[in-house]
Symmetry: C2
Subunit: 505 residues, 2 copies
Amino acid sequence: MTDPHHLAADDWPALSGGTAGPAALRPLLEEVLAALSAGAQRRGGPIAAGRPAEAADRVRAALADATGPAALARLTELLAHGGADPADPACAAHLHCPPLAVAAAADLAVSALNPSQDSWDQAPAATALERELLAELAALVGFDPAGSAGVLTSGGTESNLMGLMLARDRRLGPDVELDGVPPGVRPRILASQAAHFSVQRAAALLGLGERAVRAVPVDRTLRMDPAALAEALAATAREGAVPVAVVATAGTTDTGAIDPLGPVADLASRYGAWLHVDAAYGGGALFSDRLSPLLAGVERADSVSLDWHKLGWQPAAAGVFLVRRAETYASLARRAVYLNPADDEEAGYPSLLGLSLRTTRRPDAFKLAVTLRTLGRAGLGRMVDRCHELALAAAELVRAEPALELHCDPVLTTVVFRYLPTGTAGSAVDPAAADRINAELRRELLRTGRAVVGRTELPAPAHSSNAAGLVRLKLTLLNPRTTPSDLADLLAAVVRAGRRVEQSS
Amino acid sequence: MTDPHHLAADDWPALSGGTAGPAALRPLLEEVLAALSAGAQRRGGPIAAGRPAEAADRVRAALADATGPAALARLTELLAHGGADPADPACAAHLHCPPLAVAAAADLAVSALNPSQDSWDQAPAATALERELLAELAALVGFDPAGSAGVLTSGGTESNLMGLMLARDRRLGPDVELDGVPPGVRPRILASQAAHFSVQRAAALLGLGERAVRAVPVDRTLRMDPAALAEALAATAREGAVPVAVVATAGTTDTGAIDPLGPVADLASRYGAWLHVDAAYGGGALFSDRLSPLLAGVERADSVSLDWHKLGWQPAAAGVFLVRRAETYASLARRAVYLNPADDEEAGYPSLLGLSLRTTRRPDAFKLAVTLRTLGRAGLGRMVDRCHELALAAAELVRAEPALELHCDPVLTTVVFRYLPTGTAGSAVDPAAADRINAELRRELLRTGRAVVGRTELPAPAHSSNAAGLVRLKLTLLNPRTTPSDLADLLAAVVRAGRRVEQSS
């Protein structure tokens, strides 16, 4: 039996929804803004100085003394103080963008209302809004909005997985069983050496095995060589293996290289392979009249990954997965009697359930729709162009600095380079020493709180097991408010850190 | 060449981060709060009246006229007006909770700063905070915090996928290839008839095939019958198939039934099967001293799914995946040279990359950490108990109403029942007519904007292809501010809608 007296109590913690939600949120949001401000000031730069262990100690201390109503402000200040803030021009390591204020504000509406897109009756407006937004994005890619389909995802990794899942199911049947595939069927996925590691991960998850992925050689800019793809597909055919999919990258993580989409589409088509284009980074170029020609051919893809939390200034997550022909989206069709019963669909209640790998799903489309309506494609295109120009400017600065070596011209908004140890300008560099010094100077910049720059390694050349001399530094420029003078400061800090590391080693 | 004049421009849209972010956000957040308020008032109830096509028309109209700085307010009002608001006591269909205001406010800090957990240098504090939170949650489940491991996920569907992936890789090797598994190996996953559909979906995604999932019979409350599991495992052994995993459900979506975890753990152990416990819903009971004994045995699981966007009052997503023994978490270990190079890890920079299926990853742990510190386990436990009491009260009201039929006693916070067509109380019900009327009365409540109640179907009895008479209605009670009087109103609305549907058919 229940206790009616207890049930009458109404001193429960405030909720964010309903008519009372906004008034309950207002003072809490004011606390958040004050704490964000205090944390950013205390940080005083792109990242707090110190080693990871010190950052972890600060977290433990804050968790130990944050209790009751003070917890929100205490932990928010911790998050801001202990963050790596992409809104600081010296934070330029990753495809980790500074969000637009309008996108972050729109995301609050989503948090407060908590719609979930696994059924219409948890998200009536958000369901329709996602479909409208996807049609606009399909048109941006060059797909027929009426014939294509898609869904918001957690990012390129999930989108790449979905593309490869559809490819697998088309070639090997919609309900593959490990024990049901004839032993002679050897599935192959062809992707460039510089393709994202999520391709291997997807192959493993899908039961195809990482070894199903064949790495196609790239040129110096990390762009797929179409002749090498042709040879790899011919070899697949010769061994009687099945070319399940070709993955083309439109914007590699490091150099921003865009594979030659037209020739790749021709080859995929000739061999009957699904063409998935990973445009998680490069998709942002579609906003720019100047850069969008780089993606010519993307409209021939069977499926595409786009990430607006990269070159789109959205808080994570804002991934998009699109397929050119909606009828190829069959694998996920699903009936759940508590979410999308047949009679509800017949009565006109739409369901997005069968489009996503997830069930509960936050409407990440909302912030993107608000951003697109606020700035327009042209406004976002100007931001893309600005970041591209910053990359060109940074490359010029690198070229002009004898202590630095540019790897290749920027394609999108990244610059790959390395520090040359003293005295090596113009002469041979000890590859192992250069690698060690570049890796260490990056950590030195982190420890001193001066800068967050990227670090990567170039793919090892074919027929070589020697990986020395491959470490590179990277600026990923996603902040349109960064100035050429900020870039000069950042590169000067890199050179100074290189000198310090050399002197102390 | 770049244009220095253009590069000097600084009239870019405001960002949410940095020291200037809070000031830029403040007026935008005020717009959001005003629009949320206006939208909720215009909605005037749990959901706006009308058919889905009308809701979609409103979305198209708003998207057509929302441009420039007015877009944020216009679209936020649309989202609120066109939402199904779980903070309204008459919105009680799904495991779709009304978020706590403090959790939504904490989520704003995450959106504004945009940390990403795929590398330490995108999220220094958030990296340490996630690890601390996971240790606390491991202790809550009964795992050894020092020996276990875990990660935040997008929800139970992803967590269930991860559990089954680890199970597959343990039994079939870490890099399964479809053509590499001996033809005689027939993997099997055993889960109850009432297990979440994401188990089938995971089996398909993992290349095991949906047919690898064997449905173990349940009792009337949808609880797994341990004798039936024993028989299913014995049958698997007899046919020489491999019992890869047993999935136990702690909180079925409909009845909240919790499988007998101790006996299931004994059986899984006897047959060498991985035990995954899907506690996406029932995990909330761990906050409650009164209800947590229902989950006794969960500490024996190899892996567990928990969702704090269900019985935890977080905005989506707030899923958690835990494994009892960290060393079994091998499948995802991964080195990406631009994210977690070996020398950085040796220098003390931790990486969460190898724990998640995602790469970019929003720190969903933050809002949950703030909530736990604000309310404590006891505060959340009181909310869980309150919702449980509401379910008991609703069940009593259903029992007292001759036009309604209770399916079974509530276990957690749901009530499954149906409307009995007029004149059938005490006499035989035409099963097909009852199904049609129950399904239609739910849509009638949606169309009139009076209530959002759940609808489901009971599993068909074994040896029967007749699914009529299985449609049920459901209240999922997740709002502690709901009162018994609200419940009486809601059930009265169900009865009135049933009468109207009968009269008009």
